[in-house]
């Protein structure tokens, strides 16, 4: 069940999208998110869907993996859908008990649900096609102009790298401790909410202890290799924009610009 969490998961590949400069990818996703919020009718969604399917096709990502990424968030999507469908006033379509469903409600609900789904899928495309290291490198580079106003760009990026790096480790460890406690008869799957929360104690206590121990060890290991923060640090693979990055970025800029402009047409 823990294996279902695909946020931050990297899906290795060799496509042009995998090789794109991470900065370009981050900016494109930022554009993608912005334009999603500008869209105010259904038909530009066709282009969003087109964009997503193109990326999926080119990067040859299995559709199953992407759908799996939606699974943990299905609850949020459903709640948004329910609130919108029942709370919008307008032309009444039908009643379910005390609740009324209006034409406007139905359309807003579907619209909002789609927006959320596209948002999640779009952002997961970034992490699925970019290795965590490339991603944080990109973020560090993008944030580096703000160093002048005191933003610790390198430290932030390092924290992100470490956090991303430890997601699979912690998941694996959770899985292991869970199994060890299940082997001792622990039950994580039944009972009411209160009992379930109580049953998590045998999982959470060892997990926290191990996480702190690991953090301590990692800090020591980094210090032993003379890590002193970002100043004067050089890197093995410096990010460089080449022609394909610039071409793709420009065309995406135009593409999303057009989508945003549909709002004003």
């Amino acid at each position: 069940m823990l294996k279902d969490i695909t946020i931050g998961q990297y899906f290795p590949g060799d496509s042009i999208i995998h090789k794109l400069d991470p900065r370009v990818k981050i900016l494109i996703i930022a554009l993608f998110i912005t334009s999603l919020f500008f869209i105010n009718s259904f038909y530009p969604y066709i282009f969003i869907l087109l964009f997503i399917s193109m990326v999926v096709k080119v990067a040859s990502l299995p559709v199953k993996v992407i759908l799996k990424g939606l699974k943990p968030l299905i609850f949020i999507i459903l709640i948004t859908f329910a609130i919108n469908i029942f709370m919008t006033k307008g032309e009444v379509l039908f009643n379910i008990g005390p609740l009324t469903v209006t034409k406007e409600g139905l359309s807003t609900a579907v619209f909002m649900a789609l927006r959320l789904i596209f948002l999640i899928v779009g952002t997961s495309l970034l992490t699925l096609t970019t290795s965590p290291i490339a991603l944080t490198d990109g973020i560090e580079k993008l944030l580096s102009p703000f160093k002048k106003v005191g933003l610790p760009a390198h430290e932030l990026a390092m924290m992100m790298t470490i956090a991303l790096r430890f997601i699979p480790t912690l998941l694996e460890e959770t899985d292991k401790i869970m199994k060890a406690q299940m082997a001792r008869g622990a039950d994580f799957e039944s009972g009411n909410i209160l009992n379930r929360a109580k049953n998590l104690v045998p999982l959470l206590v060892p997990l926290f202890i191990n996480a702190f121990r690991r953090a301590d060890e990692l800090a020591t290991a980094m210090e032993a290799r003379c890590y002193r923060g970002g100043d004067h640090r050089t890197r093995l693979n410096d990010l460089k924009l080449d022609r394909k990055d610039i071409v793709i970025f420009t065309s995406m800029l135009v593409f999303f610009g057009l989508i945003i402009s549909t709002r004003y047409m």
Binding site: I177, R184, G185, P206, N210
Partner: protein, 287 residues
């Protein structure tokens, strides 16, 4: 027959680039009173196989029947299976969580729904089995203990469930030689005293050779050998081919025999070697 494993396959993350066949058509019977050593390289599928024994993992295809219960069937009581097959994971001290040692060991028995008296008795017995003093330690925090003692507490937590089969995954990993011998001795005593079936997962030939009476060798998800300890170690060249050695003393005796000395070559421990060499020297003197 206690555990019957038939045509078991297990595939990790099927349908993704990470797909990996961890178990490849495993057939295996485990009988009451067996003391088994399960040997293989990291990634050979040992841990995966072991988790199939108590229903933590279910085979992609094939069946695992534990004392008459098929773990793959819907609606079976996996709790019952887990009581019958106690599993001690690698580095089990990482699973400790309670405030006191007593409470931690009592966690398993309590989950079985036993009475307080029975739980109390089992905690005492389990602590004695692993060589921990009940009175002086029961109220202390498990986190204050040394690594070796923490591990004992964790093992006691599984023993207290009174399993029919006790599976220990690398119980000596990361311990110093003293701690290793102590733990192995306690396991041996447990086998002799309680007569429970034990499966010891290890990649150390030396540890296993001294204790067990049957060895399973795994390589790349396949069960490649399943025989009595001595028979397995006779196939030294095959073992070396899959990157597993035989105990040093066994190698020494084989070499010694190859030089034309008339000694047995299925020696497993230093003690045995000593006896055999003494006999050999006496024979030579008499001749």
């Amino acid at each position: 027959m206690l555990i019957d494993i038939k045509d078991v396959n297990y595939i990790y993350s099927p349908g993704t680039p990470f797909e990996k066949k961890a178990l490849d058509n495993i057939n295996l019977q485990i009988n009451e009173g067996d003391f088994i050593g399960l040997i293989g390289h990291t990634g050979s599928g040992k841990s995966t196989l072991v988790q199939h024994l108590n229903g933590l993992m279910k085979p992609t295809s094939g069946s695992v029947v534990v004392d008459g219960i098929n773990t793959n069937e819907k609606g079976v009581s996996l709790k019952e299976v887990r009581q019958k097959v106690g599993l001690v994971f690698q580095y089990p001290e990482h699973q400790l969580f309670e405030e006191t040692i007593y409470k931690d060991i009592a966690f398993g028995p309590k989950n079985l729904g036993l009475s307080d008296e029975e739980v109390d008795k089992r905690v005492r017995d389990a602590m004695e089995d692993v060589g921990l003093d009940f009175e002086s330690l029961k109220d202390r925090s498990p986190f204050e203990l040394s690594g070796g003692q923490k591990r004992r507490v964790a093992i006691a937590g599984v023993i207290a469930m009174k399993p029919k089969v006790l599976v220990l995954d690398e119980p000596t990993a990361g311990l110093d030689p003293n701690g290793r011998d102590e733990i192995l001795n306690e396991i041996k005593k447990l086998y002799e005293k309680e007569g429970i079936t034990i499966i010891l997962v290890s990649h150390s030939m030396e540890d296993v050779a001294k204790l067990v009476n049957r060895i399973l060798v795994m390589d790349k998800g396949k069960l490649v050998m399943d025989d009595k300890t001595r028979e397995v170690f006779k196939r030294a060249s095959e073992l070396e081919k899959i990157g597993l050695g035989v105990p040093q003393i066994t190698t020494f005796m084989r070499k010694f025999k190859e030089k034309g000395n008339d000694v047995r070559d299925d020696i497993l421990t230093v003690e045995e070697a000593k006896e055999e060499l003494m006999k050999y020297l006496r024979r030579k003197k008499d001749a």
